[in-house]
């Protein structure tokens, strides 16, 4: 499966997603500008992304815990998600998203 990620600088990257990986892990391991400091435990919100509106239904709604974590960043939009809470699957082949400013390593 493929994921298309626009980084904070506006550069577009097409990444090969691996079934069962967290989207955050793919973005991090491909070296993009994502802090992801808690490592995927839904405990920090530094893997914050904006999901392309066309993909919101397929990705599904955030959990209560994820919503709580999103309170810790100031750039939330209606399509905000934590990328550690999105699992790669064939149903998400082509998933398109943008890294939030608050996900940057040096934010």
């Amino acid at each position: 499966m493929k994921i298309t990620v626009t980084d904070q600088a506006g550069d577009v990257h097409e990444l090969e997603g691996l079934e069962g990986w967290r989207v955050m892990e793919v973005i991090r391991d491909w070296g993009l500008n994502i802090k992801a400091e808690c490592g995927g435990a839904c405990s920090c919100a530094t893997c914050h992304v904006y999901v392309d509106p066309a993909w919101l239904d397929a990705v599904g709604a955030p959990s209560d815990e994820e919503e709580d974590m999103l309170d810790s960043v100031g750039d939330v939009k209606s399509n905000s998600r934590l990328s550690c809470q999105i699992l790669c699957s064939d149903a998400l082949d082509g998933l398109t998203l943008t890294l939030a400013p608050s996900a940057a390593k040096d934010f």
Partner: protein, 341 residues
């Protein structure tokens, strides 16, 4: 006057790897002092995921971050390490005799033979709101903590956030401010329900305001804000304000470590894999903050690094002393140190 402390080892960071270093050092009769920016031990385990399960600590099929911290604290208790919480090391200077002089932001000076950096992802700092040029207002009219309540008396205060810090300070400051507006992005709160109910009562009584929205921009000059601009579902909004308190939690920043003259690799400290020594002899780095080929950021790797580091530190602290390798299971000497023999 500065407080001066002389010791063998200063460990910077009281996360799991730093704590276990006190055990390995203790077995070698080396006493250590901890310095940590948080107000309690545990590092990321305590701050980010105290209740989250960890499945890859050898011997523990599952343990939470807090349980692991509590167990490590019990394990090192016989060695009585000293903890200096809620402070940060500002500088490390190597002295002519090879020892080090450390200064903290709490006006302390440590003289130590060895420094162990176990600072994880760096020091925990308040998360900034995504607002341009907010730095110019920080510690003048924008604060990330309330140190003196008097600074807020008769002020127009805006508090941002939905957690316990935001709600607690809303309730505490409400009686002394001129106006107070709590801003949160949604009408649901992570804070304790009792605090939320009290806040809603104050809003109903007209004593404070609650505004749904997110902070977008600050107006002001010479460090003094005068308006906070918000984006809300109903459009943009500007609130007169003389104090802003954003409560978005903490994030890790490398901080002063970057200025200590150590060889770095992408925000981590380069070490060797025999001693876990940095490019400055006598300064060691263990746990998530170090880098070497093959490095895995796992707690168990940090434990291993702590054990080898301790052997190397012993040679610096007690040069020429013969160290006999012993097991805690069989050595009466070690068991005496642990208080079990």
């Amino acid at each position: 006057m500065s407080t001066e402390i002389t010791t063998d080892v200063v460990v910077i960071g009281a996360g799991p790897c730093g704590l276990f270093a006190a055990f390995e050092l203790g077995l070698l009769d080396i006493k250590c002092h901890f310095i940590d920016i948080l107000d309690r031990p545990g590092g990321q385990c305590a701050e980010l995921y105290p209740e989250k399960p960890i499945y890859d600590i050898p011997g523990f099929p599952v343990v939470t971050g807090q349980q692991l911290t509590d167990n490590l604290m019990a394990q090192i208790a016989p060695f009585a390490p000293e903890f200096h919480f809620s402070r940060m090391v500002n500088s490390i200077e190597k002295q002519a005799d090879g020892s080090f002089r450390l200064e903290t932001d709490a006006d302390e000076i440590f003289h130590t033979k060895v420094v162990v950096i176990a600072a994880g992802g760096g020091s925990f700092q308040p998360k900034r709101p995504p607002v341009a040029d907010i730095e110019q207002f920080e510690n003048k009219s924008v604060f990330y903590a309330v140190r003196k309540m008097e600074d807020f008396r008769d002020q127009d205060v805006v508090i941002v956030g939905g957690g316990d810090s935001a709600l607690d300070w809303t309730l505490n400051l409400a009686p002394i401010v001129r106006t107070l507006t709590l801003v949160h992005r949604r009408d649901a709160f992570k804070a304790a329900p009792a605090s939320v109910n009290k806040m809603k009562e104050l809003v109903a009584d007209g004593k404070i305001n609650f505004q749904l929205g997110q902070i977008a921009k600050l107006d002001g000059e010479d460090g003094q804000i005068n308006h906070v601009h918000l984006t809300t579902d109903a459009g943009d909004l500007s609130i007169p304000a003389t104090r802003l308190l954003p409560f978005f939690g903490l994030t890790m920043k490398l901080g002063p470590v970057a200025d200590w003259g150590l060889e770095l690799n992408d925000n981590t400290i380069v070490v060797d894999t025999e001693k876990f020594e940095t490019s400055v002899p006598g300064i060691y780095a263990i746990g998530d903050i170090n880098y070497y080929p093959g490095k895995l950021k796992l707690i168990l790797s940090g434990f291993h690094e702590a054990a080898l580091m301790a052997q190397a530190a012993k040679a610096v602290i007690s040069p020429g002393e013969r160290v006999v390798f012993q097991y805690t299971t069989s050595s009466t000497k070690l068991q005496k140190k642990l208080g079990v023999a």
